[in-house]
């Protein structure tokens, strides 16, 4: 019994081990780049089985998002290997069924989102293990009911969203949630509940927010104290809900009750209910006419002295001319009149006497102008803090339009059609901090416009029609730190147009028509600017200029130059980014840059984020060293740049790089050493690169599959270029032992070559080789004996071999010069020293062998003579016999090479230029030449058996 267990353990270790050493890429999920393998998202995959999606995820997963997948069913134990999971999103799939143990082992799970699926029912034990679940969303499914004990294990549930289902039976819901002691929010909107009828269980006391909107409630039908603990109750859009339904229901603890689009008569309701009238939301309760409002005010006044917020959405209020809110209780919070049909607010006339109001909101109405308000009798709203006129149709804002609200800090006029903004419109608003004028039709800003708004911090002017910034427009905005001028038509700034913005840190100028970057405007805020957005302008450089407009922006951290319209930047001046040492992120996408100069990014030492997505025109060649100073870069996006190769020279220095996106490029192979030179890399996107499944990429395959730190996005879906059915991660590399084949080729080819040639050469050149060998040995032994200083014993120094016709020369020239005249060589002459009576051949042999040298006096006659030939022969036999070369050739008369027979020329080839030429009478200085000749000869004779090379310059004179 004991034996199988260790084996099982071993097996498990093996499995875990495999998991650990295996690569860090996932079939269907992407690990968020900086999440340290904690967050994964698996979006838009084609797999229908959740196991295919989650099986290869590591245990460390905390956040997991699985959305937009065609999943239908989650089988048992699907997430059992992810015990640390805390957030799980399974929404937007097509799930219709869970096996009952689908979420087994997810004890840490806190947030579970199952919305937008096709569930119609759930199994009872589904959430059994989710002890720590706090948020559960089941919205937008087709649930009709769910089993009673379904939430039995989830004690910590805080929020339960059941919006947009088909639930009918409220009492079942109550039954199943009644024990959830921590439940705070229950959303049951858009179901088919008809009543709140329930059996004798009650809602948990902790439940404070209950949403029941868009149901078919016509009656509450609940116990009187049922809603005792609820703070927020949303009953809106229950079209059949009557006032009567609230009869006797305890609503005393409610802080907010929404009754929009019900049949509740608000006056009657307030009368019959014990609700705190201030907590009712009066939106959509049919308070159409001023008289309705006045009536409400009266009723409220009877109950309350002051009311905090009044919200009157969707009441169809057309005008407020006759409304006097002075009858209402004092409003201390906001008054919200959004979603009505107001055409005018008449200088807040109707608010007379409501001086305590802090916030006034009129969004989504039909306001068409904010007129001049100074002339009328003023009722100053000193406490009003915020004015909100968004989403109206305001065309003009008159002078002094806000004179009665001098203390507002926030003014929102965005999303209107303001074309006429009176230069004096904002006068008096000294406290203004946030002014939103974006999405209007403003064309001009005047010097006066913001003259008094000295406290303005944020100014939004995005999406207007401003084309010029006039001189001094912002000169008083000393405190402005964000200026948003994006989406205008600014073509230029007047001189000192941006002066006065002393503390500006964020400047958005994107989407304008700027044609160049003029550094002179930035001097006012060059020490404070951190964000500069110049995207989508018309900046274009035609030729390489050395301009560096950003050189003084020392604090700039964000610079966007992406998407210059029409033609892009075209040329990127190599000095453009000079001085931006603190820049953090740089956007250069969509710019049609022709060439990225290799020193363009040299100064960006602090850069962390660089996107060059689609930045370039056509195929880009990244030059080596372009990223050499970007040592802090962590994210590099190189999508769609037409990169053809990826090399270590280019990417070698990016030691901090963690995220590298290279999808949609055109390289066919990626050298692994370049990737390995990025030590921190952990996210690599290679999608849509035509990687070829060839032996070239053998190492890349190995790297991507096995690298433990680098996640290759959707590695297992990368396909082979040549055959779409093959996958990159497992193409057959079995055939890739190219190197071995190469070595085998070289070795066998050399072997075959030698094996063929050596026998052939042996057969064909045997004698030549053998002769060379003897010559070599003689040369060698010669040197050897000289090294050992061995003196040889010879009878004569030299045997002179000559033809009798040259006897005269021998006797007259040679003999005196060698035997007399200061030198004491002993010569052997045949007529003098040959033994008498001996065979002439023997004589020759003994002469040759008893002399150290044999000097052959070559002449035509000599060569013709048989005996002389024999003497040469014998002398050269000593070469073979004793491995000594004793022959010295003296050529008496010029003999043309053609006349020499093969043997002699053979010698000549072998012993190149070892002969001495007797200077004839035709040379310039015969006496001197002869002197030299004798010296040479003596030297040659003395030099043991050494072969003398007579190649001195002087000697050349004597050779014909």
């Amino acid at each position: 019994m004991a034996s199988p267990t260790p084996q099982l353990w071993l097996l498990m270790f093996a499995v875990v081990g495999v998991q650990l050493v295996g690569g860090y890429s996932f079939h269907n999920c992407i690990a968020e780049p900086h999440s340290n393998r904690k967050s994964f998202s698996c979006k838009c995959r084609r797999d229908e089985h959740v196991s295919a999606i989650v099986n290869d995820l590591p245990r460390s997963v905390v956040n997991l998002t699985i959305i937009f997948n065609p999943l239908r069913r989650i089988p048992n134990n699907s997430f059992v290997h992810l015990p640390n999971l805390q957030n799980l999103r399974l929404d937007q799939n097509q799930l219709s069924d869970f096996d009952s143990l689908a979420f087994r082992n997810l004890h840490q799970l806190k947030y579970l989102n199952l919305s937008f699926n096709h569930f119609s029912e759930l199994r009872a034990s589904l959430f059994e293990d989710l002890h720590n679940l706090t948020d559960l969303s089941l919205a937008n499914n087709k649930l009709k009911k769910f089993p009673e004990g379904i939430f039995f294990g989830v004690h910590n549930l805080n929020t339960l969203l059941l919006r947009n289902n088909c639930l009918i039976n409220f009492s079942e819901i109550v039954k199943s949630v009644s024990h959830l002691k921590k439940l705070k929010t229950l959303d049951l909107c858009s179901n088919n509940l008809t009543s709140l009828h329930h059996s004798n269980v009650s809602l948990p006391q902790s439940l404070s927010m209950l949403f029941l909107c868009r149901n078919n409630l016509h009656t509450l039908g609940c116990k009187l104290s049922f809603l005792k603990f609820v703070n927020l109750l949303d009953l809106s859009n229950n079209l059949r809900l009557h006032t009567k339904a609230f009869q006797g229901v305890d609503l005393s603890s409610l802080r907010s009750l929404r009754l929009k689009s019900t049949k509740v008569k608000i006056a009657k309701f307030l009368n019959i209910s014990n609700i705190n009238a201030g907590s009712v939301d009066f939106s959509g309760t049919g308070l159409k006419t001023p008289s309705h409002i006045m009536e409400l005010c009266k009723i409220l006044k009877t109950r309350l002295k002051r009311i905090k917020h009044v919200r009157l959405h969707y009441n169809g209020i057309k005008n407020l001319t006759n409304v006097k809110l002075s009858h209402c209780p004092k409003i201390t919070g906001f008054l919200d009149l959004s979603f009505n049909g107001l055409k005018s607010i008449e200088c807040l006339h109707f608010l007379y006497n409501q001086a305590g109001i802090t916030k006034f909101i009129v969004e989504h109405n039909h306001l068409s102008s904010l007129p001049y308000c100074k002339k009328q009798k003023m009722f100053p709203f000193k406490s009003l803090d915020e004015l909100n006129y968004r989403y109206n149709r305001i065309q003009s804002v008159g002078a002094w339009a806000f004179i009665q609200t001098p203390n507002i800090r926030i003014l929102k006029l965005n999303i209107n059609t303001i074309a006429l903004l009176h230069p004096k419109a904002f006068l008096g608003l000294k406290q203004l901090e946030l002014l939103r004028l974006d999405n209007n039709l403003l064309t001009d800003l005047y010097q006066e416009t913001f003259k008094e708004n000295v406290n303005l911090k944020i100014l939004h002017l995005r999406n207007n029609r401003i084309s010029v910034i006039f001189k001094g427009t912002f000169c008083n905005l000393k405190n402005l730190n964000t200026l948003d001028l994006g989406g205008n038509k600014i073509t230029h700034f007047q001189q000192s147009g941006l002066d006065g913005l002393k503390s500006l840190s964020k400047l958005y100028l994107d989407g304008n028509n700027l044609k160049q970057i003029d550094s002179s405007f930035y001097y006012a805020f060059q020490d404070t600017l951190t964000v500069l957005d110049l995207a989508s302008n018309q900046i274009r450089f035609f030729k390489e200029k050395s301009i560096s407009p950003f050189a003084k922006l020392r604090k700039l951290t964000d610079l966007k130059l992406n998407g210059q319209r029409n033609y892009g930047l075209t040329v990127l001046p190599h000095t453009l980014f000079r001085g931006l040492h603190s820049l953090n992120s740089l956007y250069l996408t969509h710019n049609n840059i022709v060439h990225l100069p290799p020193d363009a990014f040299d100064d960006l030492t602090g850069l962390r984020f660089l996107t060059l997505d689609n930045c370039c025109a056509g195929v880009t060649q990244l030059e080596p060293g372009i990223f050499k100073n970007l040592r802090n870069l962590t994210t590099l996006i190189l999508e769609n740049m037409g990169l053809q190769n990826f090399s270590k020279e280019v990417f070698g220095n990016l030691t901090q790089l963690r995220v590298l996106q290279m999808n949609r490029n055109v390289m066919q192979s990626i050298p692994v050493d370049a990737l390995e030179s990025l030590p921190k890399l952990n996210y690599l996107d290679l999608r849509n690169i035509p990687l070829s499944c060839t032996c070239q990429n053998k190492f890349l395959q190995n790297y991507t599959v096995n690298s433990p730190n680098v996640q290759v996005v959707y590695l297992y879906n990368l396909i082979c270029q040549q055959d779409k059915r093959l996958k990159f991660h497992n193409f057959d590399t079995k055939v890739c032992y190219i190197d071995l084949g190469k070595y085998m080729f070289f070795s066998t080819a050399a072997a075959v070559f030698l094996f063929t040639l050596i026998p052939l050469l042996y057969v064909k050149l045997y004698w030549k080789i053998k002769y060379s060998y003897y010559v070599f040995r003689s040369w060698f032994s010669d040197h050897w004996s000289r090294l050992r200083e061995k003196e040889e014993n010879c009878k004569y120094d030299a045997f002179i071999s000559y033809n009798f016709s040259d006897e005269e020369w021998v006797m007259n020239e040679l003999l005196p010069n060698l035997e007399g005249n200061g030198s004491f060589f002993k010569l052997c002459l045949h007529h003098r020293d040959f033994e008498l009576g001996r065979n002439i051949v023997d004589n020759i042999v003994s002469a040759v062998y008893s002399s150290r040298k044999t000097i052959c006096v070559l002449s035509r006659n000599f060569l013709r003579s048989e005996w002389c030939s024999l003497e040469i022969q014998l002398a050269s036999y000593r070469l073979f016999d004793e491995h000594r070369d004793v022959l010295l050739l003296v050529v008496l008369e010029p003999i043309s090479e053609r006349q020499l027979s093969s043997y002699h020329r053979m010698r000549k080839v072998m012993l190149k230029k070892t002969y001495l030429q007797w200077p004839g009478s035709d040379c310039s200085n015969p006496l001197q030449a002869q002197e030299l000749f004798w010296n040479k000869l003596r030297r040659a004779m003395k030099a043991g058996s050494k072969l003398e090379r007579e190649e001195d310059d002087e000697n050349k004179d004597f050779e014909t």
Binding site: S692, F745, T748, V752, F755
Partner: protein, 627 residues
């Protein structure tokens, strides 16, 4: 005329004078180059029991055995070289045909293109074979030519380890260069062995001892036996060539259903090799380690073949003969193959030479692919070729029947078989993937093998018999034979995209023409019509020795070396151009009258030219005498 005769006399006198008379000396002469040891033993051995007759008989028996060993070794060497070469080529072409293999292993290398270039190199280069083959053979000697060619084949195997444009294509061209010389020297070698065998059998005959021309027809039977033996062994190469395919690649090949998925029709109706053959034939790719192992095994066999040629094949000619062979001047050697084409016997055999090239290539490509693979799938290819090879090999023995029957039987028999088969094949159109045709196809393969065997042995035997007596023409004749065969192979290479019926028709037409021409030839030979044979010039030997200063021989080559020649012969001033002028002297020409006058005519140009043209011939290298 008189002068040549005079020279002849001198030469003969030399030859006879140099060694003392008697068979023992002949024996000595023979023995010199081979086993000095044996000679010494014989020389030193006790003379008492020395039975000259007996020893001589023993010696020649040993010699005969040596000849047989040479033939068998040569055949085995050639068989191995071709097994390795064809096996490797087939394996590589199959692998390279597969798209996946190509893509994965070599991506953009264009391996298919390289294969095409490689085949082109192998098939096109032999066309110029006629120019250099005899020069090469005579320079190296027959045995060494075979050795060199086997080395080139081994080099080809070696380059397949590392398939690149610059390895495969040069080695393929080298093979193309070596094909004709290899086959010419093989044919020469086998025929020569027959002559030697005859000499060793009839060592007592006078013409043998005097190294005269053999009597007509004397060694025909040996030629028949040796050629049959050669082809018996050589044709086994088809069998062994299939080993890599069967043992290694077989498991990786797709079933016929896959490879023939798009093929619509097979056999006589198709155009090209196999139209719409699937581009992937491998189920999965073989490990490259496996391929390297296979190649290493093949490499080993190639080495063994080289060693066989080197060690087991004795020389075809004695050194003196070899020196004579190449001493006729390189210009002559270059011209003589062309001159031999004037011989009507060779001319009339040319169609048969061509056909014999056609048929073997057709069996290996046309039949086995367009019929075999197309009908049965790639997995049956090996079976067809093995059966073909076995039948070739076995039926080569049928040629032995020529010992009794007239020589035309063999050739015509093969032609009849092939003729019938061609007609059958022309009618055979089958649906692809029909395994039920395995039987008929095997029968066709066997019969085609029978025809091939008869054809190959027949042609070789006929050529051998026609020139049986002339040992110094054999290489020219075989060069012509194999050159025509190479031309035929080139044509087959060119026509691969033609309709099958056109190919078959060409084959049939060639066959009929060949038969007719052969019949005409035999008729003429029977009527003893004189054929024109170029005169082989007498060998010229250089004199070298004591004489260091040569008086007037200025056209000496540079590369001669010293040499002690006892003979001290008079200088032989025969120039090559003399032979050019005095051509076809040896043949019994019809126009004898015209030729009688010529020697006188040529005397004067010879004298005139000596001074002028001597310089040009300096380059003509003279080889040293290899002793």
């Amino acid at each position: 005329m008189e002068e040549t005769e005079a020279e002849q006399l001198v030469e003969d006198a030399d030859r006879i004078a140099a060694p003392p008379n008697g068979p023992v000396n002949e024996l000595l002469n023979v023995d010199q180059e081979d086993n000095m040891q044996g000679q010494m033993e014989e020389f030193l051995g006790p003379q008492a029991q020395y039975n000259e007759e007996e020893e001589e008989k023993k010696f020649y028996r040993r010699k005969r055995l040596e000849v047989i060993k040479n033939v068998v070794a040569g055949s085995f060497g050639a068989m191995m070289v071709y097994s390795v070469y064809m096996g490797l080529l087939q394996m590589q072409l199959t692998l390279h045909y597969d798209t996946t293999y190509r893509e994965v292993k070599y991506s953009n290398l264009g391996l298919e293109d390289i294969d095409r270039k490689m085949l082109m190199g192998i098939n096109v280069t032999p066309i110029i074979g006629l120019l250099y083959t005899p020069v090469l053979i005579r320079f190296l000697g027959t045995k060494w030519m075979m050795f060199l060619a086997s080395g080139i084949y081994a080099l080809f195997v070696s380059t397949n380890y590392w398939e690149r444009y610059y390895t495969l294509v040069p080695s393929a061209v080298a093979i193309g260069v070596a094909i004709v010389p290899l086959w010419a020297s093989l044919g020469n070698y086998i025929t020569r062995m027959a002559q030697q065998y005859y000499e060793y059998v009839n060592y007592k005959e006078e013409h043998v001892q005097e190294q005269k021309k053999l009597p007509k027809g004397a060694c025909h039977s040996y030629i028949i036996v040796f050629q049959s033996l050669f082809f018996l062994i050589f044709n086994l190469s088809f069998v062994f060539a299939e080993f890599p395919m069967r043992l290694v690649l077989h498991g990786y090949l797709h079933e016929s259903k896959h490879v023939l998925a798009n093929v619509k029709i097979c056999g006589a109706a198709i155009t090209g090799i196999i139209p719409d053959f699937n581009t992937t034939v491998l189920v999965n790719l073989p490990r490259s380690m496996l391929l390297i192992q296979v190649e290493s095994v093949l490499m080993g066999f190639a080495f063994i073949a080289m060693i066989i040629f080197l060690l087991l094949c004795g020389p075809a000619y004695r050194p003196t003969e070899e020196i004579d062979l190449r001493s006729i001047g390189w210009g002559n050697i270059f011209q003589l193959p062309f001159k031999h084409l004037r011989d009507y016997r060779l001319r009339l055999l040319c169609p048969f030479f061509i056909y014999s090239g056609f048929e073997v290539l057709f069996a290996l490509s046309g039949f086995s692919l367009s019929y075999g693979v197309c009908i049965l799938g790639l997995k049956s290819l090996w079976l067809l070729i093995v059966v073909y090879g076995l039948s070739c090999s076995v039926f080569s023995l049928l040629a032995l029947s020529l010992l009794r029957l007239p020589r035309w039987v063999c050739l015509i028999g093969g032609a009849v078989v092939h003729g019938v088969l061609l007609v059958v094949l022309m009618a055979l159109t089958v649906k692809p993937d029909s395994p039920q045709y395995l039987g008929p196809l095997l029968v066709i393969a066997v019969l085609w093998g029978l025809g091939s065997a008869l054809n190959k042995t027949g042609v070789s035997i006929v050529v051998g018999m026609l020139y049986a007596e002339e040992k110094e023409r054999l290489d020219f004749v075989y060069t012509i034979y194999h050159w025509w065969q190479a031309i035929a192979i080139f044509i087959v290479y060119l026509w691969s995209h033609m309709p099958m019926r056109a190919k078959l028709s060409v084959l049939l037409a060639t066959l009929l023409l060949a038969c007719y021409c052969y019949w005409v030839m035999e008729r003429r030979v029977a009527r003893k019509v004189q054929h024109r044979l170029p005169r082989i010039p007498r060998p010229r030997h250089k004199v070298k020795g004591y004489r260091y200063l040569e008086e007037d021989n200025s056209d000496e080559s540079d590369e001669s070396d010293e040499e002690e020649n006892e003979g001290d012969m008079t200088e032989d001033d025969d120039d090559d151009d003399d032979d050019e002028v005095v051509e076809e002297m040896g043949t019994r020409d019809e126009e004898e009258g015209a030729h009688d006058a010529r020697p006188e005519e040529v005397d004067s140009p010879r004298a005139r030219r000596r001074g002028v043209e001597g310089q040009q011939h300096r380059q003509e290298e003279e080889e040293e005498r290899g002793e």
